[in-house]
Symmetry: C2
Subunit: 515 residues, 2 copies
């Protein structure tokens, strides 16, 4: 299996069908193939060799789709940058993955000087915006026009397809290495479940394409054919308008986006009746929201996907039918057709149904490993199973309930925030003596980043002062939305902060059902 | 991916759902798993090691299902024998694949002495019939009762899953080596097309389970969950009765079976309204039959699958919707979501649409190679593409039309017959001077094995004499149904028999559309 396989198939079967619709620009699959083969030729001419990494730092566009195909066509490896990260984090991921060629759109041109300064490995910048290329950057359209097509390398199977950076428990981003087989296994397996992609339909990309939730939907849609409808980013009106105008059949959203789409006054008059499948994941959805969403989009079958980048990303699916059963709506669903899921204790022994343990997963969708991190790879994949770091239990019908994150991670508005990253940034403020960062329930964001802070007493910074300080170091969405000042933190006998006690004030004493 | 993955998933999700229904015997998925783990323990105790081959020579049954799971569970490799072959052919395949352990049911016990004589490698026979084990054979039920369960080896990925024997152009059967990844890629890809397996439904096994057409449907159904309804072999009444009694949703048949099911007076009163998907393949279906079948089974969506054992086996699918277009009903459909298909000339260059060439295929479903035949493997897989030996062309929408078999093969009633095998057997008769064997159109069988024979003139054997002679050497279904005696065969300047000229009398001058 190889990512470009779907391109060959769609060109053979539906050459004149739109491959991408982006604003007023529509390109057919035949157009796509012609551009991709020349784009790949340009990459080769720029010195990109077999297995070299090629990055992209851009909002969603039809170029993103072409990038996903041209890079493997040229026998190279994808490194899509997280657009919500700070320049320091992005530079780290570029430098860490030895990414020498980077595509950049207008939104991220201003970040270039800092990236060059902090990621000296970066050599070639390809501009994919609407204006003129900035100094020192090459223009993609000129590259495509100026290079001959090359034959597809058909890079595939177990070879590296992409390095996807995620936040890490150590506070530094980690590159997740995924093979072509990994990505296509998850995509075909999820599609085989029957409620993922309408054959020949139209998929809307509203969630960021750098993220594998949307990326996996792109792989699935490209595999079964059809059309990608792309908006630069999520806005309620933009999404509702795109669904109506282009008769979108499938969409992937995080619950925060579902909420905004359903509740925004800007979308009240839009016709959403073309929707067949709405896939959501990455964070919990409330019963009340599910009910409002079902009323607003009655033609859409709701499927929840649970997984993580390391699983390419799908592990379990909650089917549309399951949503009709009250007790199952808090579940993350059951193992997808390509995945095996089980719950284990601290010594990797399987535990009985109903017992909480760590969720582990096995199958051809499990990552190759972490880029240049053999020890973390070995720990995560020990015994042949991917250890998710999430706590959960299975019921007697195989439904997974995620109850806690062993990895101390917060999922806010669909984005993962590792507490340790925020704590590290907070700790750099001279007035912070100690702190703990936890997720607390939030109506809009599912979870909210919340900091509990002990001050040194020398000065009295406000919550806003601390937020501003954190944003200098890490992405804005990771900064605490709320800050609580306390005299001391609850500590264990060994001096470890008892986050469980802090969380209990917000979540109650029982297990925390986040899905 | 691994074959036992589906077993773990179904036990987790639907432990009490019937896994198999065979006659009056129903076993749940939990039963299946318990028996499989002990069955595997018995194989291990019998000395079956990692990668060893374990064969089965039996009609369809629920034991066949358990065999498909217990062998990989024990880290071993499947070698299902073709029940329609002669003892000599089966013995050859056992000896060639070094299969030392063989499961045998009542129907094939009488063949054992000859198998032992011609396949001395055969060491252990496991009896799976309803009576008492014959002398020297072990009883499966005693083995299962007498051995503890062992943990699943989870043999998978690129490791060998099975060796499937097919007739060969050289006249000797060849073992097709398929990996777990091969088998699961085809199954998940075909299922992702959306018209292959009703989620949670009931699949009827009426075609022989040794054959990968049915074997692949077994993999797909096991992957998405549901129930296997199994009959020992195809009879119109047996199939109609099983569909009605067990509310079967999916069935795989060859067109000859479709014809018998539809036209038999024994099935006229049966309720077939539970059928959702009817998958057919392996030989052509006529417009008239398709129409009769559609009337008799109005709830069933018809999908045609084209492929071969070497492709695990699915390459293309003709969707139910395509069947509504008159010009497409003679097509074999379009590349499935997991496959890339193209047409090439003698030098492996891609040819334009509409031009006949050899059908080649690429993807993770392409076999590992032929068992112990590196040269034939290299020839078949040259350039990374499986060369099918079938001639065909693509239209501008990617529909494949199979027009000729480059490999000189006849498909009769769903079985492949290589002309050279029949010619070799005929040539051993002392009165046959020369002969040519071709496929000719046949109302019941799609194609019929037809021999054109030049006699030496010493004696005058009848057609029936020659048929009886052939059956001494090869399987009965390969014997010519009709024989034509001629004074001479048309020869090329180089002295090669011009089969094209012989075929033209039956098929007309134009290209032969067999699908």
């Amino acid at each position: 299996m190889y990512l470009t396989q779907g391109l060959h198939r769609t060109v053979q079967q539906t050459p004149d069908l739109p491959a991408t619709i982006f604003g007023d620009r529509t390109r057919t699959w035949a157009d796509s193939a012609r551009r991709v083969a020349r784009f790949a030729g340009a990459l080769r001419a720029l010195g990109v060799g077999s297995g070299d990494r090629v990055g992209i730092l851009a909002n969603n566009s039809d170029i993103y789709h072409e990038y996903m195909l041209a890079v493997p066509w040229a026998d190279a490896v994808l490194t899509p940058a997280n657009t919500r990260w700070s320049a320091a984090e992005i530079a780290f991921s570029l430098q860490d993955s030895d990414t020498r060629v980077l595509l950049v759109d207008d939104a991220f041109v201003p970040m270039l000087p800092r990236l060059h300064a902090e990621a000296p490995v970066l050599r070639t910048v390809i501009y994919i915006g609407d204006g003129s290329a900035p100094d020192g950057a090459l223009d993609l359209e000129e590259l495509i026009a100026g290079h001959d097509p090359i034959p597809d390398a058909r890079r595939g199977g177990d070879s590296l397809a992409g390095v996807y950076y995620t936040g890490g428990t150590t506070g530094k981003p980690k590159g997740v290495m995924l093979s072509h087989l990994n990505l296509l296994t998850s995509a075909l397996g999820a599609t085989a479940s029957g409620t993922f992609m309408v054959p020949g339909g139209r998929l809307l990309h509203a969630a960021p394409m750098f993220h594998l939730a949307d990326g996996a939907a792109w792989v699935a849609r490209t595999s079964v054919g059809g059309t990608h409808v792309i908006v630069p980013g999520f806005t309620p009106a933009g999404v509702a308008d795109a669904i109506e105008r282009h008769r979108v059949t499938d969409v992937l959203l995080v619950p925060t986006m579902v909420q905004m789409l359903v509740d925004s006054p800007d979308t009240a008059d839009s016709d959403l009746s073309s929707l067949c499948n709405l896939i959501y994941g990455a964070s919990p959805i409330s019963e009340a929201l599910l009910e409002r969403a079902g009323k607003r989009m009655p033609t859409a079958a709701f499927t929840q996907a649970y997984g993580m980048t390391e699983l390419s990303p799908v592990a379990t699916l909650l089917s549309p039918g399951d949503h009709g059963v009250a007790g199952l709506r808090r579940s993350a669903g059951r193992a997808a057709p390509h995945a095996e899921v089980r719950i284990v204790d601290d010594e990797d022994r399987e535990v009985p149904n109903g017992t909480v343990g760590e969720i582990v997963c096995r199958g051809s969708h499990v990552m190759l490993g972490y880029w240049n991190r053999p020890e973390e790879t070995e720990a995560a994949l020990r015994g042949g199973w991917m250890h998710t770091g999430d706590g959960g239990y299975l019921d007697d019908d195989g439904y997974l309930f995620v109850v806690d994150r062993i990895k101390d991670m917060i999922v806010s508005g669909g984005e993962n925030v590792y507490s340790v990253e925020v704590e590290n940034a907070l700790g750099k403020h001279p007035s912070v003596a100690s702190c703990a960062v936890i997720g607390v329930p939030d109506e809009d964001w599912g979870e909210r980043v919340h900091a509990v802070v002990v001050l040194t007493g020398d000065t009295s910074p406000t919550a806003e002062d601390l937020r501003a300080h954190v944003k200098e170091h890490i992405a804005g969405y990771k900064a605490p939305r709320t800050v609580e000042f306390v005299d001391s933190l609850p500590l264990s006998g060994a001096g470890k902060i008892l986050k469980r006690d802090l969380r209990a004030r917000y979540w109650g004493e029982g297990a925390r059902n986040v899905h």
